[in-house]
C-alpha cells in the first residue's frame, strides 16, 4: 500500500478532531463526554478512510484498473453504526442521570466523597 502519502488537510483535520474530542471526553459531564466521543469517532473514521487509496471508484476485481480500495469504506460504515449505538446508549445514560440528579454531571464536589462512602458501604 501507499505508505505516507496522506493528504495534509485530512491529517490536520484528524488531529484537530482527536484533540477536541479527547479534551471533551476528559470531563465529568456526560453530555460533553458524548460530544467528545462523537468528535473522536469522526476523527477515527477519517483515519480509516485515509488508510486506503483515494480518488477513484471503489471497485474490486479489475486487475490493473485504477480503482480505490473499498475495504476502508466498508470498515467505516461498520464503525459509524457502532458509534451510533454507543452514542445512543450514552444519551440514554445522560438522560437517566439527569432524571436522578437533575444535573448533567456524574458527580461533583462533596458529593463525590458521599458517593465513595456509599459505594464502600454497598460493597
Amino acid at each position: 500500500m501507499n505508505v505516507l502519502t496522506s493528504n495534509a488537510v485530512v491529517a490536520v483535520t484528524i488531529g484537530v478532531l482527536f484533540a477536541c474530542g479527547l479534551y471533551l471526553m476528559m470531563s465529568r459531564n456526560l453530555i460533553r463526554v458524548l460530544l467528545g466521543f462523537l468528535l473522536v469517532g469522526h476523527g477515527t473514521n477519517l483515519l480509516l478512510l485515509s488508510s486506503g487509496r483515494a480518488g477513484s471508484a471503489p471497485i474490486v476485481g479489475e486487475p490493473g484498473g485504477d480503482s480505490a480500495d473499498p475495504l476502508p469504506q466498508a470498515l467505516i460504515l461498520t464503525s459509524i453504526v457502532i458509534s451510533l449505538a454507543v452514542a445512543t446508549f450514552l444519551m440514554a445514560m445522560a438522560y437517566r442521570n439527569y432524571q436522578l440528579t437533575t444535573a448533567a454531571d456524574l458527580t461533583e464536589g462533596p458529593e463525590d466523597v458521599e458517593a465513595l462512602r456509599n459505594a464502600a458501604e454497598a460493597d
Binding site: 500500500m1 471526553m25 456526560l30 485515509s50 476485481g61 475495504l71 437517566r96 459505594a119
Partner: protein
C-alpha cells in the same frame, strides 16, 4: 465441520433476539437463554474435540477467500477458551435465574433486559475468540462492551451510573485506540487479516511495527486491566449485581488477554517488547495484590486479586516460549473458573448476611457450612496451595521463567511467589474474619432485627436475612458446579496440561495458523483471480 464456527456465535445471538421477543414471559426467556447456552456449549465441546484431533478449523464467510473476506478461525487455544467461557457463562446464568426467582422483585434487575444483554455478551465473547481478522475482533469487542455497559448500569440507579461512567469512558477510549491502530495497520500493510498480516508485517520497518504493536497492546491492555491501565476495574465491578460481576471477572479481562496472546504470538513473534511485558506483568501482580490487602470489602478485594492475577497471564505471554505460553493458556482456564466461583460465592455471602464488608461479617461457617466450603476451595485454588490447579499453573509459569533466565524473568518468578503468598494472606484474612470468627466479634456487626449502624444498612440486611437464610438451590448448585469444574482442572491436570501444551506449541508455530487460514481449501472461486463473480 466448519459450520460449527458460525453456529457457536449465532446460537447466543439468536437466543438474545428471541429472549427480547419474549420480554413479557420470564419463563420463556429463561428457557431460551439456558437452551441457547447449553446448545452452544455442546457445539463448542464438539469443536474442541475436532480441533484437537484434526487441527485448526477455518471458515471463510460467504466463500470469500482469506485476505479479503471475513474469516473465522478456531485453533486449540480459541476452542478451549470457548468451552471454558461458555461453561462459566452458563453457570452464572443459572445462578442469576435462581437469584431472580427467589427474590421475586424485578426492581433491581429488569429481567426483560437482563437475558438479551447477557446472551449478547456471550455472543461477543465467542466471536472475539473466533475472529480471524482485526476488524472482526474490534466488532466483537464492541458487541461485548455494549452489552456490558447495559449489564453494569442495570436498573439505572445512581450508584450504578456512577460506577458505570468511568468504565464506559475508559472502554470507549480503548476502543478508539484499537480502531485507530486498525486504520494505521491497514495504511501500512494493506490487510487486516491476522494470518495475512503475520506474513506481510515482515517487510515493514521495525519502528513502524513497534508503534502498531504498542497501540494494539495498549488497547488490549485496558480491556485486560493490566497496570497502569487497571484502575477502572475495582471501581466499577463491585457495584454491579453479583452475577454480572462474576461473568465480567471471568470473561471480559480474559478476552483482552486472549487478544494479547494471539497478537503477540502471531503478528509480533520477534519479542522486542519482552522485557517491558515481563516488567509490567510483575508490577501488575504486586500492585494488584497490595491493593487487595487494603480493602475492607470482599468484592473490591476480589477485584484487586483479579487485576493481580492478570499479571501471571501476561508474564506467560511475555516469556514468549512454548512453555510460558502453554502455562499461560492453562492458567487462563484456571483463573476464569476460580475468579468466577469466588465472585459467585461473594454474592452468596451478600445474600446470607446482607453485606460483604469484612468488618460486619462473622460466623458464616456456622450459618452455612456449604458456603464456607464453596468459598474456601476456590480461594485456596486462587492462592495456589499445592494440590490445586492454581499451583500447577504457577509452577508451569515459574519453570518457564527460570528456563528463560533473563533478569526480568527471574524478577517475575520472585514477584510471582511473593504475590502468591500475599494472595494466601489476603484470602486467609477474609476467611478468618467472615467465616471463622464468632459473629459477635465483628466490630461493625449489624443485627438481623435492626439496631445496626445505620437504618438503611440494617433495613436492607434484615430484609435479605429474612429472605435468604436458606440459599436457593440453583445459586448454590451453580457455584458448586463452577467450583467443581475448577477442581476437575486439578484432577485432569495431565490431559488438560497436555492440551494447553499443544495449544502453546501451535502458538509458537504461527506458520500452522497462517497455512490453515491462507490455504483457502474450502473456497471454490478466488474472487480476485478469474474475474468471475463469486
Amino acid at each position: 465441520m466448519t459450520a460449527l464456527l458460525p453456529v457457536s456465535v449465532m446460537l447466543p445471538m439468536f437466543g438474545a433476539a428471541l429472549a427480547l421477543l419474549f420480554g413479557r414471559q420470564p419463563q420463556a426467556q429463561r428457557l431460551i437463554s439456558v437452551g441457547a447456552l447449553v446448545a452452544q456449549l455442546v457445539v463448542e465441546i464438539v469443536m474442541l474435540l475436532q480441533v484437537d484431533a484434526n487441527g485448526t478449523l477455518v471458515m471463510h464467510i460467504g466463500g470469500w477467500g482469506a485476505p479479503i473476506g471475513i474469516t473465522l478461525v478456531a485453533d486449540r487455544l480459541a476452542a478451549s477458551m470457548l468451552v471454558v467461557s461458555t461453561l462459566v457463562t452458563l453457570a452464572v446464568l443459572v445462578y442469576a435465574i435462581a437469584a431472580g426467582q427467589s427474590d421475586r422483585d424485578a426492581t433491581e434487575t429488569p429481567v426483560s433486559i437482563f437475558f438479551p444483554a447477557f446472551l449478547l455478551l456471550a455472543t461477543g465473547v465467542s466471536n472475539a475468540f473466533l475472529a480471524g481478522d482485526l476488524f472482526n475482533l474490534f466488532v466483537s469487542f464492541e458487541i461485548l462492551l455494549t452489552a456490558s455497559y447495559v449489564l453494569l448500569t442495570l436498573g439505572g440507579t445512581k450508584e450504578r451510573l456512577q460506577a458505570g461512567g468511568p468504565y464506559i469512558v475508559v472502554s470507549l477510549l480503548s476502543s478508539i485506540i484499537f480502531l485507530s491502530a486498525i486504520a494505521l495497520v491497514y495504511t501500512v500493510v494493506g490487510t487486516i487479516n491476522l494470518a495475512d498480516l503475520a506474513v506481510k508485517l515482515g517487510g515493514v520497518p521495525d519502528g513502524i511495527v513497534l508503534v502498531l504493536q504498542s497501540m494494539l497492546l495498549v488497547a488490549f491492555g485496558v480491556k485486560a486491566a493490566i497496570w497502569p491501565m487497571s484502575s477502572w476495574l475495582p471501581d466499577s465491578y463491585p457495584n454491579a449485581p453479583a452475577p454480572v460481576t462474576a461473568v465480567f471477572a471471568g470473561l471480559l479481562t480474559k478476552v483482552g488477554i486472549y487478544a494479547i496472546l494471539r497478537v503477540q504470538t502471531l503478528l509480533f513473534p520477534g519479542d522486542s517488547l519482552q522485557p517491558v511485558l515481563l516488567s509490567i506483568a510483575v508490577v501488575t501482580m504486586l500492585v494488584g495484590i497490595l491493593g487487595a490487602l487494603a480493602q475492607p470489602g470482599i468484592k473490591r478485594l476480589l477485584s484487586f486479586t483479579l487485576v493481580s492475577h492478570i499479571g501471571y497471564l501476561l508474564y506467560g505471554v511475555g516469556l514468549a516460549s512454548a512453555a510460558g505460553v502453554s502455562a499461560s493458556v492453562f492458567y487462563v482456564a484456571h483463573h476464569i473458573l476460580v475468579q468466577t466461583a469466588l465472585f459467585l460465592a461473594a454474592g452468596l455471602i451478600e445474600r446470607v448476611s446482607g453485606t460483604t464488608m469484612l468488618a460486619r461479617l462473622g460466623g458464616l461457617a456456622a450459618v452455612s457450612p456449604l458456603l464456607a466450603v464453596l468459598f474456601f476451595l476456590p480461594a485456596m485454588n486462587l492462592a495456589g496451595v499445592p494440590p490445586f490447579s492454581g499451583f500447577l499453573g504457577k509452577v508451569g509459569l515459574f519453570e518457564a521463567g527460570v528456563e528463560n533466565g533473563s533478569t526480568p524473568a527471574i524478577v517475575g518468578v520472585v514477584g510471582g511467589v511473593l504475590t502468591s503468598l500475599l494472595t494466601l494472606y489476603t484470602i486467609v484474612r477474609v476467611w478468618g474474619q467472615a467465616f471463622w470468627r464468632e459473629a459477635a466479634d465483628a466490630p461493625d456487626r449489624v443485627d438481623a432485627g435492626g439496631g445496626g449502624r445505620s437504618s438503611r444498612a440494617s433495613g436492607e440486611s434484615g430484609r435479605r436475612l429474612a429472605a435468604a437464610r436458606s440459599l436457593p438451590a440453583g445459586m448454590l448448585g451453580a457455584t458448586a458446579a463452577t467450583v467443581t469444574v475448577g477442581l476437575l482442572l486439578t484432577v485432569f491436570a495431565g490431559p488438560l496440561f497436555g492440551l494447553a501444551s499443544r495449544a502453546g506449541d501451535d502458538l509458537m508455530h504461527p506458520d500452522r495458523y497462517i497455512t490453515a487460514v491462507l490455504s483457502n481449501t474450502d473456497v471454490g472461486v478466488d474472487p480476485l483471480a478469474g474475474g468471475g463473480t463469486p
